[in-house]
């Protein structure tokens, strides 16, 4: 078992939390893990990227080599495309369809989506709408995680526990919201 995952989005979208959930699942499964992210300047509304690697064998590099990622999970569609050279030719791209528009020259969203569709293995999720329907606006990242869950190589219970662990301190309401969001995302990936 070995997975190399790129998680992308814009600063503040919950990339670190998403990486933490998957990371916890990997650790609880007794796997080796390396997870690197960019801090500092990129937090100010810039693009954010996390390299997440887990394996039953030792992991050498903190960075995933270009062309080798098994999947890109993105909370923002433009950011999903930005890191495309990192994706393997057989890799999956799993992304939110909602733009985070904090730049003046944000490209045509239809054009972005059609570029995503060119990747044979893709899952597009309108996570913002679901989050709104669920009254859980901050759970967009967990919805995307749900949509990607089938490709992560974990039992559902392991991921569920990792979500509980991350949101433990925030109380049962937040946990329930996120578990619901997770399963909704997973369900949508199939539809």
């Amino acid at each position: 078992m070995k997975k190399d995952i790129i998680i992308s989005g814009v600063g503040g979208q919950g990339i670190v939390s998403m990486a933490a959930i998957i990371g916890t699942a990997a650790l609880e499964s007794g796997l080796n893990l390396k997870q690197s992210e960019v801090h500092g300047m990129s937090q100010r509304g810039g693009d954010v990227l996390s390299n997440l690697r887990y394996s039953d064998k030792p992991i050498a590099s903190d960075l995933i080599p270009e062309g080798k990622a098994d999947m890109i999970i993105s909370i923002e569609p433009l950011e999903a495309l930005r890191h495309l050279p990192r994706l393997s030719m057989e890799g999956w791209i799993i992304t939110n369809t909602n733009p985070y528009n904090n730049i003046e020259n944000y490209p045509d969203i239809e054009g972005i989506i059609s570029e995503v569709r060119k990747i044979p293995n893709h899952i597009l999720v309108d996570a913002d709408t679901i989050a709104k329907d669920l009254n859980a606006r901050r759970s967009t990242n967990v919805i995307i995680l749900g949509a990607a869950s089938e490709h992560l190589g974990f039992e559902l219970a392991v991921l569920e526990n990792a979500i509980i662990k991350l949101f433990e301190k925030k109380g049962s309401k937040v946990i329930d919201q996120n578990i619901t969001a997770f399963y909704k995302g997973r369900e949508l990936a199939h539809s």
């Binding site: 814009v10 997870q35 801090h39 500092g40 992991i59 495309l84």
Partner: protein, 539 residues
């Protein structure tokens, strides 16, 4: 043994606690900030009474750590690579004084300049100061090296430099801390009470000791196990890989041994015999170093008349930028993995000032006044979030060089006749390195207007406490000699825009030193504070 998921920075912090430090000294700087933050948040560190609050700048931090070492206790000082420039006087001279209690200097370099203005390689600083340098290649090694560094420091009575880079600093992996930790040292003065007195007569003797110690440093590097020679059958090539570059090398040989001899480097000065062995054994060498070509340059020499040495200097690898598995693979002759290009539709998303950021209001006002009365090109800025004011739509600043340079460069430009000159500096950067420059300006009566953007925090690195905020800033400015009537505090808010414009016009019109303090809390910190308040209320 139980493993904890720790960032490189956190592994270093935990190791320092376990190794019995009595204090950590630091000024925030990406990618080093999390080391000190970890210790500040650690319950264990609190119980052990480890001092950890932020220093005003890297030099005061380095000197604080040196003082603690003088008193016999273990201390650690942490900074980003350019911070070492600020601390350089104290750092280089600490090699001459030597250490008493263990003294470890952690410097986090930022190749590829993710959040920095250059990619200088601190190993050169270590070489320059002539002290041992350690360069871990993964988080566990970083943890272990801190323990080793304190031992080495106390045995050889020398400061030790631990050099990491962004990737290690900000990457998490499982780390197994030691079960047996060390108590802090007791107060214990140096055996020779003149050890730290660098009068020329004493400094000359100390320097001779330092020169003599080079052999001990090399011997340690030979025996520690952090440098190792890995045999390989194919001697057409020998590989030297330092620090994290070794990971990228390994990544290219998944599940198999590397066919070539490899010299893995994690400790400097590198013993000559190790370099000699691989040089003699192999037809040619390739050097992978994260940073400048330190070993490569030493091997090639100026004349480059020996065997072929490949690396950053002959173009096998780009001279600039951080390494990665693909760059290393390409240099070894592996084909590049097949990949898709970035689609043309993708545009950059540069970092930007947050919506609601007080700096936006300050820049709008400054821009408006300049457009109305003066020509462009007179705003000297500094290091912080407000450096983002260089980008559209503000395009408000003309320089950003080093911490504190705004005031002094504005002064120099004013001296040259570019008046009025404007300096823009944050509250934390002002206390870090702006005060002395302001004294220069006052002494010369320079025609400068200094904006101290007081957002009550060190925002760029994530909201650490500033050394002086609020009224203390006015007190400092007044104490430095700026006339009371030219110290103006304004509220950078839309509703005060017209008033603020008037204040700025008045002060730009004044042909001496003015200080305007736009004061409003960082919007991110405010948001965090409000959320915490809400949480406290609801719990």
């Amino acid at each position: 043994m139980e493993k904890h998921l720790l960032m490189g920075d956190e592994a270093i912090a935990q190791a320092a606690i376990d190794a019995g430090i009595s204090g950590v000294y630091a000024y925030p700087g990406t990618p080093s900030t999390e080391i000190t933050e970890y210790i500040q948040k650690s319950e264990e560190a609190k119980e052990k009474n480890i001092r950890s609050s932020w220093a005003t700048n890297e030099k005061t931090a380095m000197e604080g750590a040196l003082g603690m070492s003088y008193a016999g206790k273990r201390s650690m000082v942490c900074m980003k690579h350019v911070g070492l420039n600020v601390a350089a006087d104290a750092f280089v001279n600490s090699a001459i004084t030597g250490a008493n209690g263990g003294l470890v200097v952690v410097v986090a370099d930022d190749p590829s300049m993710h959040s920095s203005q250059n990619e200088q390689d601190s190993r050169f600083f270590g070489k320059f100061a002539m002290i041992p340098v350690l360069e871990p290649h993964h988080q566990q090694e970083a943890y272990d090296m801190v323990h080793y560094a304190f031992d080495l420091s106390e045995v050889l009575k020398t400061p030790v430099l631990l050099r990491i880079t962004t990737r290690l600093a900000h990457s998490r992996a499982g780390v197994a801390p030691r079960l047996i930790t060390r108590e802090q040292n007791e107060l214990r003065l140096p055996e020779r009470l003149t050890q730290f007195v660098l009068l020329p007569s004493i400094a000359r003797e100390n320097y001779k000791t330092l020169i003599h110690n080079q052999e001990h440093f090399k011997k340690a590097a030979l025996e520690s196990g952090y440098n190792s020679y890995l045999k390989g059958n194919d001697k057409s090539l020998g590989i030297i890989a330092t620090g994290i570059a070794y990971n990228y090398l390994q990544e290219n040989y998944p599940n198999q041994e590397i066919p070539y001899p490899v010299l893995k480097i994690g400790q400097y000065p590198v013993p000559n015999e190790m370099l000699q062995e691989i040089y003699d054994e192999c037809d040619e060498l390739i050097v992978f170093e994260e940073g400048y070509p330190l070993i490569e340059e030493a091997l090639r020499g100026s004349l480059n008349i020996g065997k072929k040495i490949k690396g950053r200097m002959d173009g096998t690898l780009a001279f600039d930028g951080e390494l990665n598995p693909v760059k290393v693979g390409k240099a070894l002759g592996f084909p590049e993995p097949e990949k898709r290009p970035v689609p043309d539709i993708v545009v950059p998303r540069p970092p930007a000032l947050c919506a609601g950021c007080p700096h936006i209001d300050s820049y709008k006002a400054i821009n408006e006044v300049i457009a109305k009365h003066y020509s462009k090109g007179r705003v000297f800025a500094d290091i912080g979030c407000y450096t983002l004011g260089a980008l559209p739509p503000y395009s408000a600043i003309n320089t950003c060089v080093d911490m504190g340079a705004s005031i002094t460069m504005a002064k120099g430009a004013a001296d040259a006749g570019l008046v009025p000159a404007i300096a823009v500096i944050g509250d934390s950067t002002f206390t870090h390195s702006g005060i002395t420059g302001l004294i220069d300006a006052v002494n010369d009566g320079s025609n400068v207007t200094v904006f101290i953007l007081d957002n009550d925090t060190t925002a760029m690195t994530g909201g650490q406490n500033s050394a002086a905020v609020g009224n203390r800033l006015e007190d400092i400015v007044r104490g430095v000699g700026v006339a009371e009537e030219h110290i103006r505090v304004i509220r950078p808010l839309k509703k005060f825009h017209e008033e603020n414009i008037q204040v700025i016009e008045e002060e730009l019109n004044y042909p001496g030193v003015s200080v305007i303090i736009p004061r409003r809390e960082c919007i991110v910190v405010l948001d965090q504070r409000m959320r915490q308040k809400f949480k406290d209320k609801t719990q």
